[in-house]
Symmetry: C2
Subunit: 403 residues, 2 copies
């Protein structure tokens, strides 16, 4: 029951990118795709960010190493149904073997392959199934398979997540298309669960890394379902250059379009959060610093009591106050705080707003999309975090995930 | 469905302490007590710690001020059903008025009264009902009303929480008796939800504050249900001195008994945590520092994914790894980590233990009381945290709390 999330619309192919997806047998249900291959034309720029969870998965370690050894990655191999995390030496071996199988088929260096996995942690990766599927996967690479790839990387997602933009720069069309997955264990730290975005713009590798870092900061790095940073978070941005339109960070039109893609993909994860019945935007303004604003926003976003009140559509805003008050911000002065639920003011300068009524609060909480705005009136730091509520279904999904 | 928690046993009266409890009408159900009064004999030592949530409730502010103005507190007035938090100037006024009503009846200074409240946040305190109940409450003060007081401070608690110890010091009996409440919005910071402990030992006020700080550190300050620090946390320790046995921090027998009382009261809160089906002890050993050990322990204890796996009795220990890996401990080296579930080793030096089987993990997870032990093998810091699982009932209780 995703909140305000529709199936992806028209996805522009990116010249220089071909994709394929299949059921390799990692997932038990043979109707479900579980393996995707993305081919990147030689000469493209590739940038990636990965989880900062210290228990990072084997494919994350391998992908980091491969990218450092050979910046011109040529293939992304992504499986769902198994995270290949907490799997020790065997897990590293499996990730490397899957890369070698692609390299052999495509006649490139194994370092040109970046592996990614998502799914159950601490179970051995069935690498033989992956290797067996690679020849047919390779043979079915096509430019218009973005949706199929989005389907192949789903785990507890209820809908595939993909979006696409086209902008005209210097009179020529430039396309950006991306996919993402994720709905639980979501509090990305440097990256998201899994997301792959490509453009046909021509962008220098260093510039691309900068663009990726900026885009991720306010999208995947500003969402949370449950505060649990994954072992497998990865986000890749590819610029094939096939449009011949050269783009840099100073090109506003492109940056806006890229930001929109990242924000839509990040929002899609929250809209499809495990058990979500609400999409919640938390904005914190005039904090002593950006870091402080983020602390307050996440303190609210992670509070199980705030999240269950959201689920119940209960304007129990005392729980929001308590969450703000426990945020680790030393200089927080509660006598300056304004608090809004949608357009309804709850608290002004630390005191209950005299015009607040339970009816107003109830009306604001009943909506499917809820905005919580906190003004600390203490400086220039601001942050915006997207999150979901905590429902019976969150517990059900996560209590039954492996069974 | 409290986990391994029984109704309180024999509670030793503390000479110099009298208690009373009644239904004043704050709670709608007239069978439920909602107001308690504790009388402390003149000349007793009193120490208290309070929440560090910046949105602290009006009674917390008043109690702090009163204790600073007059260290010889004579009465504790405690209501449940309403937290008197987020209530602005009116809330402060209500807390002060309730103190004045007790002061008038008992013929003492208003500063000799410490007020405490627990319940719904951001609703006006029905102070007229409290004031009206004070004469009969005062008239019914008795030394053996500890259990009644424990009942009167309950909110979503399913059982009253109280315990008692007697030790012989210098040939003479010394008693300690305490009560506590709380089952949600539990991650005390300096104190607990509400707890009141008294002894007839003779202890200097400064010594008593030291003893309280020590006892709280490893009891109420080492538990969490949902990571939500309350606006009303308070803990009071009283030494009446009526046993004429002088005690200090160096008296091991007394310190052990006091520690046991605090640990039992803190455990009772977790055993009765909202919706709890498991009592979980998380021990982190050989961390770079105590602070680091606590970060790792709380990262596990607050993970909704670990908590739902505990509820499902699912040995999905990858989620524990992920929680350890995201703890904010810069020097954490995952290649040194050992992880145990009960006696079952899951991970040794960062690698899956070859002798681990799903059957062993399942057996360890099926128990009602679960121990998670993490050895970082990186230093001398250790911490122990008690927590509960995350069940459907946690969501139900907190989604329906105000309705």
């Amino acid at each position: 029951m995703a909140v305000g999330l529709k199936a992806p619309g028209n996805l522009h192919p990116i010249e220089g990118i071909r994709l394929a997806a299949t059921h390799s047998g990692i997932k038990q249900d043979s109707r479900l795709k579980d393996l995707a291959l993305v081919e990147i034309e030689d000469g493209s720029s590739v940038a990636a960010v990965f989880t900062r969870n210290r228990f990072c998965a084997a494919p994350v370690t391998v992908a980091r190493q491969h990218l450092a050894q050979l910046p011109g990655s040529r293939y992304l191999l992504i499986n769902s149904g198994n995270a290949n995390a907490g799997t020790g030496v065997d897990g590293m071996d499996a990730a490397l073997k899957s890369c070698m199988a692609v390299a052999e088929k495509a006649e490139v260096n194994p370092e040109a392959i970046l592996p990614f996995s998502t799914g159950v942690i601490a179970a051995p990766l069935p690498v033989a199934k992956i290797i067996a599927a690679i020849p047919s996967l390779y043979a079915s690479l096509r430019a218009d398979n973005w949706l199929q790839a989005a389907e192949a990387i789903m785990t507890t997602d209820t809908l595939p997540k993909a979006c696409s933009e086209q902008v005209v720069i210097d009179g020529r069309p430039v396309s950006i298309t991306g996919i993402s997955k994720g709905s639980g264990m979501i509090k990305p730290d440097m990256a998201t669960m899994l997301s792959y975005v490509a453009t046909d713009a021509m962008i220098e590798p260093e510039e691309l890394r900068l663009l990726l870092a900026q885009a991720v900061a306010n999208s995947f790095n500003s969402i949370t379902v449950d505060g649990d940073t994954s072992t497998n978070d990865s986000c890749v941005l590819v610029a094939t250059g096939t449009s011949s339109v050269r783009v840099s960070n100073s090109n506003t039109e492109f940056v806006v379009a890229l930001t929109q893609i990242f924000e839509q993909l990040a929002q899609a994860i929250i809209r499809d959060a495990e058990g979500a019945t609400k999409f919640v935007e938390i904005e914190v303004e005039q904090a002593p610093s950006v870091a402080d604003a983020r602390e307050v926003a996440y303190s609210i976003a992670h509070s199980p009591l705030v999240k269950t009140a959201l689920f119940a559509s209960d304007p129990n805003w005392g729980r929001i106050l308590a969450a703000i008050g426990r945020a680790p911000v030393d200089s927080l002065d509660i006598d300056l705080v304004d608090l809004y639920l949608g357009d309804t003011c709850l608290l002004r300068q630390g005191l209950p707003d005299p015009e607040y009524t339970e009816t107003k609060g109830q009306a604001a909480m009943t909506a499917e999309e809820i905005s919580i705005r906190v003004n600390l009136n203490q400086g220039g730091g601001a942050a915006r975090v997207w999150t979901s509520d905590l429902s019976y279904d969150y517990v059900k999904i996560n209590a039954e995930y492996r069974s």
